[in-house]
Symmetry: C2
Subunit: 347 residues, 2 copies
Amino acid sequence: MNDPFAPNEIKITVIGGGTGSFTLLSALKNHTRQIAAVVNMVDDGGSTGVLRDELGVLPPGDVRQCLVALSDSPKIRDLFNYRFDEGTFQGHAFGNLLLTALEKMTGSFSEAVETASEILRVNGVVIPATLDNVRLKMEWAEASTILHGERIIDADFFKYDPRKANLSLVPAARANPTALAAIQQADLIVIAPGDLYTSLGPLLAINGVGEALQKTDATIMYVSNLVTKQGQTAGFCVSDHAAEIERFIGGEVLDYVLYNKQVPTNELARRYKQEHAYLVEVDKEVLVTKKYKSVGGNFLGAVVEEHDSDVLPVTRSLIRHDSEAIARALIELYETARDPNFNSLSL
Amino acid sequence: MNDPFAPNEIKITVIGGGTGSFTLLSALKNHTRQIAAVVNMVDDGGSTGVLRDELGVLPPGDVRQCLVALSDSPKIRDLFNYRFDEGTFQGHAFGNLLLTALEKMTGSFSEAVETASEILRVNGVVIPATLDNVRLKMEWAEASTILHGERIIDADFFKYDPRKANLSLVPAARANPTALAAIQQADLIVIAPGDLYTSLGPLLAINGVGEALQKTDATIMYVSNLVTKQGQTAGFCVSDHAAEIERFIGGEVLDYVLYNKQVPTNELARRYKQEHAYLVEVDKEVLVTKKYKSVGGNFLGAVVEEHDSDVLPVTRSLIRHDSEAIARALIELYETARDPNFNSLSL
């Protein structure tokens, strides 16, 4: 197993793969150069889905965006996110083609990610959670209902309680040894905000990842989602999100759960309503009974305009965390918690 | 006009665009880091043709190969030459897609070439001869025959003498000012071996290029082709090749013409015969009457196996110059000619 970190610096491993991860990585890289991003590998929609289907490659999309988030080269970052808007290549992000070409050429997705990292001048490392070519499966035992594929599951309005569903990968995925090393050797592990059933769950369900999170000496922090997902997590409070994360991991390993406590301005509230977005409720009475410490902060970001060129074009949701505020909170929390005089926190 | 060179070094500008240029650039870069490659821009076949037709971009193929020839990064060089062999992208060289994405993104082919040069860690500069989107036209006045497009002309068996044909670009092409600067500021200009009517001619026919070659103080050397092209230049001797080059330029500007004088081994001769390849004849009796000095050398390369991974997969012709020998001869000739004690040369 390779040590993904350089010696003598605070080592942060971020676990995730969706927009929440990309924006958090962008913010965290201003605080440390020692970042490992462990990335979910079940995406099968859009440009990524076409490349998987046509060329049999591993999903490049989320890896590309984590690479871009950690890149030091604005020009090449723009190139990686560029999407052809006409002709045969319409809809394909250029970085996906680059990762695909490198994988086809070398026969190794790891090598592809490494070369792409050099081209993008990436700070830190991006680590596919698994190097097996797998698809996501979600099944409810009682209801004998099965959903196949990330794209399908992502778009589904669940008929049954997803907390009773089993997430698995087909065929069974083996964890990437470098991902396990990043979990084992980190000082701080951040489970990024993200979709529970199509992003975080499928990553944590990989054989070996849950065990590694149970064994590591790292401080483990989970950043709860800002809004619920229609048809999937409607009504989920902060503790429900954290409970699902610990269910996927298979143990009560979270040390801290961060959540937003900021009340939106009237203008923000109006925009959220337009978007049918519902803020995740903070169920303090439940949170205080948990093994983990829960910490609220002012994490509401500006509402993102859909064509804002400063933001990665990765999702249609216009509601964002203030990732810079979260990054500061994570670092402060980590450093304060290690202080023997630690008493209380104000975020 | 930008100075494409760094100060205080011998400056070589190579003019061309086909296999002859790529291999010569690869060899010359071992002798100087001060190389400018001025590249023909009329290619409209293969992957390049599809990209031009579908996306309206300038032709990336020859530029890509010159960039690759001057690159210091073997891994990224392989990536640029990688061709997808199935699916939507089948047949496309990755570097073509990269240049295309950069041009679509920035709206500037020059900027695309500059960024690609950074990614490839290119020694020297690659300069599109024109930044106008043009197609090649070849016409015979007497015969009122017109051929349109590089791909068409390249595959044609000429019915009439091409020496009486007029080559032009449609619409009329303006020279790239940086290309003119590279001609003006060079110490040595090398017109690389290449197809007369689909590579060198169309480049020299650009408005301003011929004038720049007539005005420059640089020493101008032309490396004659090794073999004739079936249906186009059959029977052309060395002086015929040089005469066409000077016709395109519009003046007797050549200082030196280099040609191969090496007799093939029996084995080589057998392979040439298999290929229906005819070596260009050296018509010494004509050459001695010319204003330029003509210099013969042992320039026969090994016969290239079609799947030899060390060679750029750019052509089906298996007969190659020994580019390293030509590069040495060019440099030696240039340095000897500047020596006031210059007397004779043995190459």
